[in-house]
Symmetry: C2
Amino acid sequence: MKVGVLGTGVVGKTIGTRLLGLGHEVWMGSRSAHNETAAEWAAEGGDGAGHGTFSDAAEFGEVLFNGTAGASSIDALTAAGEGNLADKTLIDVANPLDFSHGMPPTLTIANDDSLAETIQRTFPYARVVKALNTVNCRVMVEPSRVPGDHVVFVCSDHPGAKAEAGRFLMEFGWTSAQIIDLGGIRAARTTEMYLPLWVTLMQKLGTADFNIALSR
Amino acid sequence: MKVGVLGTGVVGKTIGTRLLGLGHEVWMGSRSAHNETAAEWAAEGGDGAGHGTFSDAAEFGEVLFNGTAGASSIDALTAAGEGNLADKTLIDVANPLDFSHGMPPTLTIANDDSLAETIQRTFPYARVVKALNTVNCRVMVEPSRVPGDHVVFVCSDHPGAKAEAGRFLMEFGWTSAQIIDLGGIRAARTTEMYLPLWVTLMQKLGTADFNIALSR
């Protein structure tokens, strides 16, 4: 499948590389058409890999991943172009974290709203799915890094897009039992608000290779 | 030990009854000295049980539990009296939940602050410990209701109070491996911000007898 990955940081690169390994064609999008990180990633990625502007990547992808920093996601998606997002599944793995006030981080959007809801409101023709944002990017694409039946959460107002996101998650290695459907996109605020605890636990445990499981 | 439990709701009653069962003397405090729920609870509780105003219960207790609703905790503690809180371990299990805007609940204090931090700031001579607020009250006092090595979190600026709270948790049945020390009271915001996800999961799972475990 043709996938556009927005963002050239560790999240974008990790997701992009994993998608290539699964046989997808991947374009990485960034602010500039000549981003060195993206160019290097695409060169290493071989035949299926490309790179360009946010708009180039969004146009290329039949499915899109938002792997940009939460604070700049709206700008990145605006640059991608509303028309290039329309009717596409947009899997938002970002978190609106703000580390400028020390630890734990605050969220730039919280409590009665979320980044994913903001994206869905701003780009109403995109089919936004919040997913995977509660784990480190290496765990996102390789859940077996962490033992046990730990879980991730998905939510969306678009059932078809949620199902498509679920298929990508299962390609990454998540089992259906590990994927918890929280309902509509409004639930994204609950998973984003978990992040301050996640960051605190990461510091406490000294590793990002952890996750939560549900005991019941 | 003499314990004051503030709040006559299901949280206060559940904690109070468990403490009585463990051999502690417990006074339940409420807004009025003649609260029917508290009087009934104390009558059922037998010799070790008493009830009175917030001030009566706080004066009685060598250790205090805040089991009031988060939105009224500051009022309740103000009524308890600063002098009755001074130098005492105050175990805050409350959450500042607001269900008035639908599901998931919002928090009346969130992101860059928390109820526990507000309590500590407002009553600087109390030794506030945030604990147990991430599970249902029946799980708080009987963790074996949920299978597995699920966890709870404690944080406080007062190491001695944190250790005392930990001893109560272990009396309730939590093992030391299940009690995660998140550091100072500032970390309370991270556990309170988990509550919208907790409530969403409770609805999804159809039970409050669940908790999170850490996979690593």
